[in-house]
Every structure is written in C-alpha cells, then in structure tokens.
C-alpha cells in the first residue's frame, strides 16, 4: 500500500511553546491511523495544519504524491480531507436535514440531499431521522450528524478529533463498526485519542507524539496498552527532589465516596472518589483535561453550591456544607486554574488583590474599613519573598506577566500560613524560571508541614513535586502511587483508564 498523506518536517511555534517540531510521518491509504499523545503533545495542531486551519511555519504536506499547500478548510475539502471536531457546530433549532444542507459547498436541493443522506445512513447504520430537530438528539446522534455531513462531501480522508470523549461505551462500539466499514469502502481515517484500549481496538497504525515531536511510528497489532502508555509518557524517571517527611499519623483531609450527578452534558460526574491526605504530604492528581478535574476543584472550593454525595473531612470537621469563605477561615487556601478574573482581578492593584483572597482575616480590616497599610505591606512582602518582577504594589494585576502574577498569587496564599493548599494547574502557561521557583516553594511549604493537593495535566511537574500521584479518568480516581517507587508503565495505564 502506498501513503495517501506524508508529513515532511512540519514545524509550528506559538509564543513560548513549540507545538510541532519537525514532524514527519506517512499515513497509508485505506487505513485507520491513530495519533496518540498527552494534552499539549501537538496532535491537534498537526491535524489543524492538515485541515487548513493553522498555517505551519515550515515543512510540507504531500497528498497522493502531490505537494500541496492547504490554506483553508475549503481547500482541504476540495482535496478530499474532512474533519469531525470534538465540539459540534450544529444549529439546535434546525432539523438534521437543514443542518446537513448548510454544510454543503455545492448547490443541492433538499429532497436530493435527503435521499443522498438516507443512502449513507442505511449503508453504514446511522440511526437518524432527518426531520427531527437537533435539540432532540443525543450526543451520539449529534456526532452522527457531523459524520454524515462530512461523508456527503465524498471525502478521501476523514480526521476525527477525540471522537469518543463524549460517547457512551455502546455508542463507541457502534462508532468503531461504522469507522471500520468506511475504511473497507476506501476511506482513510485519522483518529486522535489518548485512550489506549481504543487505539489498540481500532487502529492499524499509531504515531506517538510528545512535546511536539514524533516519538515513534508503530504497527498497532505489535503493541499492547502497556507498551503504548509507556511510550506516550516517555522515560519520565525524574529524580524526585522531595524528601519524604510526611507525618502519616496526622490526617488532614479525607474524601470519602465523593460522587456528583449533574445533568449538564458538559460536566464529568465524579464517581466515588476516596483519598487521604496527611500532614506535610503533596498529592498530585493527574489525568487528561476533562476527566473531572474541574468538578473536583469545584467541590473542594464550593463557590457555586455544586451538588455532590459523600463527605469531605478536614481535620475531623465535616466541611461539606461550608462556604468558600468559611473554608478559607479554617486555613484552607486555593489557587485556581484561571488567574485573570478568578484568583486575581486584572483591573485592580496588587494590594487590592491581596484583600481579594484575605478578606476573611480581621488583620486586614479596621471594622468595616480596609487597613491599607497592612495590605500594602503584605503585598510588598509577597513581591520580595517570591521574586515578583513589578515596580510597586500599586500596579494593576493585569499588567504582570503570567509567571509573575502566578508567583504573586501563590506567594499570597503561602504567606497566609495555610494548613492545606489546593492548586489547579499551578504552572500552566508560565515561563520556566517562574515554574521552577513555584515548584521549589511548594516543596519547601510541604516540609513545613503544610498539606498540598496539585491538580495538573503536567505529569513531569507532579513527578517532580509530589509524594503521591493519583489519576482521574472519567470521574474515577485511581489508587495513589508512591512517587519514589513509581512504576511508569502502571502510571501510563492509569492515564489511559486502565485501573487495577
């Protein structure tokens, strides 16, 4: 078989991050080719380049032995490339048929389109009523609409970006049958995923990417989930600088059977989460984004009275019903994923941003008035102790770089002497210098006996800082692995949803 697509030295750099670094590989005609990697490995950037959404800085794409330049999705479609996105773009109030005709580049009558679509539905087993409105369809059916829409353009190549992330197990099985049938009829499918068992079940070949580079090109039948997981994560045997000084006799936080049952299709329901956190322990919660991290943080922070079952016990007190304010008063500190507009107000000065998080402390108040001297001097101390590069505490928080602001926020929380610090993505999108500084500060803090929870997509970071790591996968939390004696293969399996 000859290749239908060949990537040659594709490079794409965004400010501060190399998304694709000399990516070269071939995709064979009439095959299912999986691209596997963690968040931020460069998978999405690569397929967006192929679909004409993103322009590469360098490199070329060869399709059917012709060198092509793909400037737009329209152009990609004319070359026979179609894409089914992770997030659907359908008009809820229109019918299936109306949505399909909106996606057509050529003029076609509604009746002709209906008969064409019906042929496709019958042939491949899509269970769709062309006259029902999108709003009445399940998530799986909506995805079918997106796929049928692509098939109407008679594609040669179909790109599917994490297509199973929104589906139930039965729907996934059905989708895989459809994909195999499409390939038998001549289509080439590019399948992006981070789920190991799915890749083993479905694909013919797999390309593993990490940090923007292609790590290896494999024939799937020679692999198993463990070997794939190991290669996806790489040989991440980072020397842990962490000295084990956890006091296992003193329990600080216990979560027991924490579950949530939201009806919102865009939330992941948590499924009986249990863990114990001891004094001075750093627990890392790893996992690919969208597996329940947001919901777990929501419950720990309790900003919106998010409903859940189970218990949260902080130092023998049940804090289920306590508000954010009350939890902070018990000396639990939080650093949220979003800096601007959540853990800091960009329009306000740095000292006002101290008060934002410290307003539960009477030290910063004089009755109903603000004690400006004290917030200013506290801000000054944070700036000094945490190397925040800024001329003064009067500077607006929004003027600081991401790394500086994050150092300021984390410094603000650390200096308030918390007993428990909960952070979400603490080093996301910041410069390497600030990242190293923050990691060092967190380790020092734990050595003073403060317990820390870090929710992060960045495994390297967790391996470097934490005592223990658990993985969140589709709302369930794995057993915790001790970092000192960690088995990378096992961690890889956990990341792909294969718990013991």
């Amino acid at each position: 078989m000859q290749p239908i697509i060949e990537f040659q030295n594709i490079c794409k750099e965004y400010p501060g991050v190399v998304a694709n670094n000399n990516v070269s590989f071939k995709i064979l005609r009439q095959s299912i080719h999986a691209i596997l990697g963690e968040n931020g490995a460069g998978k999405s950037t690569l397929v967006k380049i192929l679909y004409g959404h993103v322009k590469p800085d360098n490199g070329q794409i060869i399709i059917n032995s012709d060198l092509v330049t793909i400037n737009s999705p329209t152009m990609a479609q004319s070359l026979g490339i179609n894409m089914v996105f992770q997030h659907f773009s359908l008009f809820e109030s229109l019918t299936v048929a109306e949505n399909l005709i909106l996606g057509m580049s050529e003029k076609i009558s509604l009746s002709k389109l209906k008969s064409k679509s019906e042929t496709i539905c019958n042939k491949y087993g899509f269970n769709l009523n062309l006259n029902s409105p999108i709003s009445s369809l399940s998530v799986g059916q909506r995805q079918s609409v997106e796929i049928v829409r692509s098939l109407l353009n008679n594609p040669k190549i179909l790109i599917m970006d994490e297509p199973t992330s929104v589906l139930t197990p039965e729907e996934i099985n059905k989708l895989f049958k459809i994909i195999k049938k499409l390939v038998a009829d001549g289509l080439t499918v590019i399948f992006i995923s981070h789920k190991l068992d799915e890749i083993i079940n479905l694909s013919d070949h797999v390309t593993i990417m990490r940090n923007g580079k292609v790590i290896s090109n494999l024939t799937t039948k020679n692999e198993d989930p463990e070997s794939l997981g190991y290669k996806m994560l790489g040989y991440k045997v980072t020397k842990t600088k962490q000295i084990n000084n956890v006091d296992y006799s003193e329990n600080v936080l216990t979560l027991s059977n924490l579950s949530s049952y939201s009806q919102d299709p865009f939330t992941t329901n948590l499924n009986k989460i249990n863990f114990n956190l001891n004094k001075g322990q750093i627990l890392g919660i790893a996992g690919v984004a969208g597996n329940g991290q947001k919901e777990l943080m929501e419950i720990l922070l309790n900003e919106n009275d998010f409903e859940f079952n189970g218990d949260i016990i902080f130092k023998n007190i049940n804090i289920n019903k306590l508000s954010t304010f009350q939890r902070k008063s018990l000396s639990i500190s939080y650093v949220t994923e979003q800096r601007l507009g959540h853990s800091a107000v960009p329009e306000m000065s740095l000292s006002e941003n101290i008060l934002l998080s410290m307003n539960h402390k009477n030290y910063f108040k004089k009755g109903d008035f603000i004690n400006f001297d004290r917030i200013n001097s506290y801000a000054n101390d944070v700036i000094k102790n945490f190397n925040v590069d800024t001329p003064s505490f009067n500077v607006k928080a929004g003027k600081l770089s991401g790394g500086n602001l994050q150092k300021f926020i984390i410094g603000r929380e650390i200096m308030s002497d918390p007993e428990l610090l909960i952070l979400s993505q603490p080093t996301w999108g910041i410069d390497a210098g600030s990242e190293a500084f923050i990691k060092k500060s967190l380790i020092e803090l734990s050595q003073k006996g403060v317990s820390i929870i870090i929710i992060s997509h960045d495994l390297d970071e967790l391996l470097e800082v934490c005592h223990n790591i658990s993985v969140l996968y589709e709302g369930s939390l794995s057993k915790s692995l001790n970092v000192e004696s960690i088995d990378i293969t096992k961690l890889g399996k956990y990341m792909g949803g294969l718990f013991d």
């Binding site: 954010t324 902070k328 006002e352 008060l355 109903d368 603000i370």
Partner: protein, 353 residues
Amino acid sequence: MVYLINIKLREDYSNLIFYLSPLVAVFLTLFFGSFIFLILDLSPIESFKIFFISPISNSYGISELFVKATPLAIIALGLSYCFKNNIYNIGAEGQLTMGAIFGGGIGLLFNDSTSIFLLPLMILFGAIGGAFWATIPALLKTKFNTNEILTSLMLTYVALFILDYFVVGPWKDPAGYGLPKSMPFPDAGRLPVLFDGLRIHIGVYFAIMICLISYIVYNKTLFGFKLRVSGFSSKASQYAGFKYKNLIFYTFIISGACAGLAGLFEVSGPIGLLYRDISPNYGFTAIIVAFLGRLNPLGIILSSLLIALTYLGAEDAQLFLKIPSAVGFVFQGLVLFFLLGTDFLNKYKVSIS
C-alpha cells in the same frame, strides 16, 4: 468581496481616555446638535446661547439649575452602587414615585401638624418607600433569577398607576375642583429653601453628603471593595467568598432609598403636594447622569449639573425658539449615544478587512 468587521479587545485600554471621554461625548453632542438647529433653520450659535447660557445668566436660573440637578445627582449616586455591581436597576423612576407616595402620605396624614419632626419623618418614609419598591426586583432576581432590567422597569409603571389611584381616589383634594391632585402639605412638611424667593432647597446638602459618603464607601470600605470586585468579575467575587445575593439586596436598597429620597424632595420641595406628573423622567435621566459621571461620585455631581442644564435649555428653547422642549431629550440621548460610542472605541479596536 466580503468585508468583515473585526472587533478586538484593546490591551492598552486607557484610563485617562476613560475619564476624558465624557468631554468628547459632550463636544460631539454640541457638534451634531448644531446640525439639528441648522435643519430647523436656526443659527446654531444663537440657539446654543439660548439653550446653554441664558438659562443660567441670573440667580434665578442658577437656583433652578440646582433644583433640577439635585434629584438627578441623588438618584444617580444611588444608581452607581447598582451599576458598579453590574446590577441594572432601570426602575429609579418607580422608586422615586414610591418615595413620594410614602413620604407624601405621611405629610397628608398629619396635615395639621406643626411639629419639627414632620419633615424628618417624611424624609425617612420617602427613603423607605423607594427602598421597599427596589427590594421587589432584588427579591425576584435572587429567588427566581429574573432579569432585573425588566422587572424594575415594569414596576415603574405599577408605581405610577398607584400614584394615579391615590390622587384621583382617596387622597384627592376635596377643595381641588376635581383635579387629580392632593391637598397641599402643611408648612411643617415643606422642604426649607436656601434663599428667600428662590426654589433651591436643602436637598442640595443631601446630594453633597451622599456624594462624600459614597466616595468614602467606594474607596475606603470593604463593602465598596466587594462591589468593585463583583463588578469586575463575578468569579473573582465568588473566589473571595463574597455573598453576591446579599450585595444585590444592599445595592438595590441603597439605590431605591436614594430615588425615594429624591421623590420626596420633589413633592415636599418645589411641588408641595402630590399629583400625577411629579417627575420629568428624573429616574430615567439619572441613568445617563450616572454613566456620564463614570459612576464616580464627584463625576456624577458634575454630570448632573450638565444634564440639568439641558432641562432648563429645553424650556427656554420652547419659549424663545419656538421648538418643542423634547429637544432637551434629544440632547440627553445624543450625549448617552456618544458616550457609549467613545467607551466602545476605547475598549475595542475596530478594523475592516
């Protein structure tokens, strides 16, 4: 060829321009306003003189300016609490009316009183009436998540009908020739004037006091800090542990009380009794005053004087230029339009590709 309008958030959003843009808006209003006069076959310069200068060229005119500016400033200062908190109370006109009914009702109830406590009691009830009317949209918003813009606006018309009912019904002056108005308030229930023969009254002191208190609240207190944080980002406000529902109540009550106070001052001051049309849309115009003053207490005092001038100018224009007094509303509308425009262009960069 398809032209696309790109609207991008500016990173170098300027604070200086934010405070200067009211001046730009006023300048643009004058510039485009002069075309209105040209279309009406009037000399712009002469017309502007009649509109903006002659109304305040004597002590009576200046007194009248303060008479109009006082309710505008008091209402707008109250509204600034809501607007800073991103709560859009559009119903100040109704809260003003309810303040007049409550406070004025006390004046009618004790219509033979000579007590020095009558006026303070009326003022108190005026504020309570306005605050009471404002808690209804606050309650609806916090309990049922209704849109406060709609509910507060609709309640305005309810309040106007209630006033209507009282002045044609139970409170109609038996000696009033059947006109829809109440008996005049007793002298003890009238607001003292500052100078004999002029209508400027002690409401001015209240406006100045509310301005100073608001300045301190916004800049020095935790409550003001909470309002500003919630106005910037509701997520940050949750992170800080502020109770947003309480803030909604407090700001509605403050702005309702201010509007009620202004309503009482109108009826116990210049008007002296209750009748149908107690306010020339002060409650709505105060929204423009609040934004033109950048929700800043001092700025609101200045903008209330400017907008008050458009009321006086419109009256003079009707007299001397023979044009409808609605021209005053046209000018108010133009100012708001240009202010929103300059704010938008300061915040966003617009380009066409």
